[in-house]
């Protein structure tokens, strides 16, 4: 049995008929055509499906669509503003932290969640925040550097603006 439910994704409201067992990942990819979020393992172990619920990182494959009701859902498609990449996205590109690209949306969402909460994470904090995201291509170094680059930029900006 399906019910008509309202979802807020990247600031836009959608009305979708969902059945109880529909997971958020499938809602995003198949019902809304937002294929930026990837299905890696489908089991909540690889992080490729990471999205934000009210700014907090979750595995979309392990979230019932119904449980995303009433929350602000942000996907990778929602980071860029007016065609301009978010700082974390630019950092990934500039550091060469993308190879096949499959883990990338999830990695960026996880990194962004960290930066939303902590603008200047230490390298250890970055590693801890990305523990739930696997990459089979890069060996992680450039990914960590990309996030570190954002942290450094935020630190520099903070100094300029007289913030700690």
């Amino acid at each position: 049995m399906r019910r008509l439910v309202e979802f807020t994704v990247n600031g836009e409201v959608f009305e979708v008929a969902v059945s109880a067992e529909r997971v958020l990942l499938d809602l995003l990819r198949y019902d809304l055509g937002l294929t930026g979020t990837k299905k890696g393992c489908g089991m909540g172990e690889c992080g490729a499906c990471t999205v934000h619920l009210d700014g907090l990182p979750v595995y979309a494959c392990s979230t019932l669509a119904l449980d995303a009701r009433g929350h602000a859902i942000t996907t990778i498609e929602g980071l860029a503003r007016n065609g301009e990449l978010a700082p974390i996205q630019r950092a990934f590109v500039e550091e060469g932290a993308i190879q096949c690209g499959y883990c990338t949306p999830g990695m960026i969402m996880a990194a962004q969640a960290l930066l939303l909460e902590n603008r200047t994470p230490t390298p250890e904090e970055v590693r801890a925040a990305l523990q739930g995201n696997l990459c089979r291509c890069t060996g992680y170094q450039k990914i960590l550097r990309a996030v570190g680059r954002c942290a450094a930029e935020n630190r520099r900006q903070g100094k300029e603006e007289g913030r700690p």
Binding site: E21, G44, L64, G132
Partner: protein
């Protein structure tokens, strides 16, 4: 994905108990979902009824009691425990930080974890070391309470009956002179399942151990208190040699798990190592705490 189920979204504890009373036998509770959704996808779990607790806000809380103890609602997430500003739960805040990944901790719940009764739990042995109790309710019989230790009956088996709901965890207060530690070993550095874990709580008085509580997790089918080690530590400062001797003896009679992650023998060895580390760290903490208290 298993889809042949009737879906329920209760909003109050009463509604949950009512549903469990009617469908408990055929129902599965969905808390955070990180465990159950996987089972549904693999069709290992095929419940005719799915009871989603996410709207039962009354079970999401961390409350400090007047006596200094804590009450933790069953639907409190590990992230909530980790992040509680100013309300650091002894040992549990630290342990929660390493459970799964961030994405898991945002949704996975304390109650869900405890009820799942996975042998590899880090939280359970730590809560047992703290002397925690669980509060359980059913429509027919009302509320009951028991120690978390007694809650675990066997591998993947708790005392929860089909119509019962785990409401909360009660953590007794710890004295200011208490030190604690949880040490575990995994194959990976993070986001991994423990092969063995040891939780230690030491209270010191006049440079010696006044009370000791030690609990092994992950290496055994259910969390195991090590009474012989606890007794052996009383009245002394825990020198490494003493801990090693006590550990060797305790581990001899320990029934450890043999599985694809590690052998039973390896787990026995690791319990000894972890015990040394955990006791050392807990003791250091207790001394520091003692100094601050003055």
């Amino acid at each position: 994905m298993w889809r042949q189920f009737e879906y329920h979204e209760p909003e109050t504890v009463e509604e949950v108990l009512d549903l469990l009373d009617r469908y408990g036998e055929d129902g599965r509770i969905l808390a955070g979902g990180t465990a159950l959704l996987k089972l549904l996808k693999l069709r290992i779990a095929r419940p005719p009824h799915l009871i989603n607790l996410k709207r039962v806000k009354a079970l999401c809380f961390v409350r400090r009691e007047e006596d200094g103890g804590f009450r933790v609602g069953a639907l409190t997430t590990y992230r909530d425990i980790e992040r509680r500003s100013g309300e650091v739960l002894p040992l549990l805040s630290e342990v929660s930080r390493d459970i799964g990944s961030v994405q898991v901790r945002v949704v996975a719940t304390v109650g869900g974890g405890l009820a799942l009764a996975e042998s590899s739990s880090d939280f359970a042995p730590s809560a047992i070391a703290l002397g925690a109790r669980v509060r359980i309710a059913s429509k027919q019989r009302g509320e009951r309470e028991e120690t978390l230790e007694r809650f675990y009956r066997g591998y993947l088996e708790t005392t929860l009956l089909e119509d019962e709901l785990l409401l909360e965890l009660r953590v007794p207060s710890v004295r200011p002179t208490t030190g604690w530690a949880y040490e575990r070993i995994c194959l990976r550095k993070g986001f991994d399942i423990a092969i063995a874990g040891v939780a230690v709580l030491l209270d010191l008085d006049d440079g010696a151990v006044k009370t000791a509580r030690l609990c092994v997790g992950a290496a055994t089918p259910i969390p195991q208190r090590l009474l012989s080690v606890e007794e052996g530590l009383l009245g002394v400062a825990p020198a490494p040699q003493l801990v090693e001797t006590l550990a060797k003896e305790a581990v001899r009679d320990l029934e450890t798990v043999e599985d694809q992650r590690a052998s039973s023998a390896y787990r026995k060895e690791m319990v000894k190592v972890l015990m040394g580390r955990a006791v050392d760290r807990a003791w250091t903490r207790a001394l520091e705490a003692g100094r601050t208290v003055g």
